[in-house]
């Protein structure tokens, strides 16, 4: 399984902070994002935002990053700390 976390505005849009997905259907970040988008209109709209950033195992990662069971993926809006 892959653990998927959502933060800030994206978490609120999706109404979801954390979920688990099967590693089988998500061999890359892009694939994972696509399968999440297919969960419904709300997900498609929220994940269509090109500014959404992605991290794998707590490091920012590009769409072609390979995923494996046990990975922790996070999706979030551009950061606004400091």
């Amino acid at each position: 399984m892959i653990r998927v976390l959502f933060f800030a505005g994206l978490r609120e849009q999706l109404g979801c902070a954390e979920m688990e997905v099967a590693a089988a259907g998500a061999s890359t970040l892009a694939e994972l994002r696509e399968s999440l988008s297919a969960r419904g209109d709300r997900w498609r709209r929220a994940l269509a935002n090109p500014n959404i950033q992605m991290a794998v195992n707590r490091s920012v990662a590009a769409a072609d990053c390979a995923l494996a069971s046990g990975d922790e993926v996070a999706l979030f809006p551009p950061v606004t700390g400091g």
Binding site: A8, R58, F76, P78, G81, G82
Partner: protein, 151 residues
């Protein structure tokens, strides 16, 4: 105090105590630079009474440490300290502390500016402004991305 130290906490930090730590048993460094960011009461047109700060526990500390190490790789620095608060903050409260020490002033000043610029665009924190007009997630600023170009 070790050369790189980061903290993510809901409690306030004490600028005087942080400075003392930066300088303790550290006679080799003749220069210290500090940046403190705090909650303004006026963000664009919206009055802000509170700020809610969310972060990605685990990743945040790692990114802050990486930023501090990048600064140390680039300048001759003694110590780098980063403290960032999370949770609910009132107007005027401090949010972030960046402290650097170095043998020479330019390194301390440049590294301090570098750390806060990188933190603004890389560290997984998100601000929500809460005021009489409602709650709004703060939007990332183009100017923060542009600030990175000088590094």
């Amino acid at each position: 105090m070790v050369s790189v130290s980061v903290a993510v906490q809901s409690e306030p930090f004490d600028v005087g105590a942080e400075y003392t730590q930066l300088r303790a048993r550290n006679c080799a460094d003749g220069a210290a630079a500090i940046f403190v960011g705090s909650v303004r009461d006026l963000s664009d047109a919206t009055r802000v009474t509170r700020l809610q700060l969310e972060h990605y526990p685990g990743m945040t500390e790692q990114v802050l440490r990486q930023i501090a190490e990048q600064a140390r790789a680039r300048w001759c620095l003694g110590r780098v300290r980063i403290v960032h608060r999370v949770g609910s903050l009132g107007a005027g409260e401090d949010i972030v502390f960046v402290g650097t020490s170095a043998p020479h002033r330019q390194a301390a000043l440049d590294a301090c500016a570098f750390v806060i610029d990188l933190l603004k665009t890389r560290a997984p924190f998100w601000k929500k402004e809460i005021g009489p007009d409602g709650e709004f997630w703060v939007q990332a600023r183009q100017s923060d991305r542009e600030a990175l170009e000088k590094w």
